[in-house]
Symmetry: C2
Subunit: 112 residues, 2 copies
């Protein structure tokens, strides 16, 4: 009933694999979701992401920036102000995040 390797065609789905290199890391999806509400400071993000450490948040923001999804803007002070925001590419993920949120609220009712 099944060919030997029915899933081989999909092993090269590079786009989805790449997406989950980014989204399949703890916090990244939530950081993008928080920023979809508008730019935020480091402290805003830390407050919104309950339980994240400063070093982890800093590392994740750098990765998201390296992937072209988040910008970091330093405004001259005093006081110096650093704001994080989504790029166009980051904003483009919002419909998918909405869909994931709707899916989870219907289909992920059990505690993980």
């Amino acid at each position: 009933m099944h060919a030997a390797s029915p899933h081989d065609a999909r092993r090269c789905d590079a786009a989805l694999t790449h997406a989950f290199v980014v989204l399949g890391k703890r916090w990244n999806g939530m950081i993008l979701s928080v920023l979809s509400g508008g730019e935020a400071s480091f402290s805003d993000l830390r407050r919104a992401l309950d339980g994240i450490s400063d070093s982890m948040l800093s590392e994740r923001l750098s990765e998201l920036a390296a992937n072209g999804l988040v910008t970091r803007t330093v405004a001259a002070g005093p006081p110096v102000s650093v704001r994080y925001d989504l790029t166009d590419g980051g904003h483009a993920l919002e419909p998918a995040l909405d869909q994931i949120r709707d899916w989870a609220s219907v289909h992920l009712t059990r505690p993980a």
Copy 2:
């Protein structure tokens, strides 16, 4: 320009947080994506997920089953055959996975 905690309202977005407890773990999104093409054996999945270890795949499949997204069916043999498939809840994620794939192919062109 900003209230003290502009993102507090979203810290309790339990549905999205819960979604990323599941999807924000390496391999889970890809496992669901491979199974969206139809049921598969353990070896089919291992072949499709380049680089996953047996113990990791086994652990992930158990977690996805505990979250109600994957079924494990044992057919009496010989040879005994174990097949993995998506539940309705797992299938319901497919439109979001398609959207993530499209987003990644446009906006995630750089190597991670």
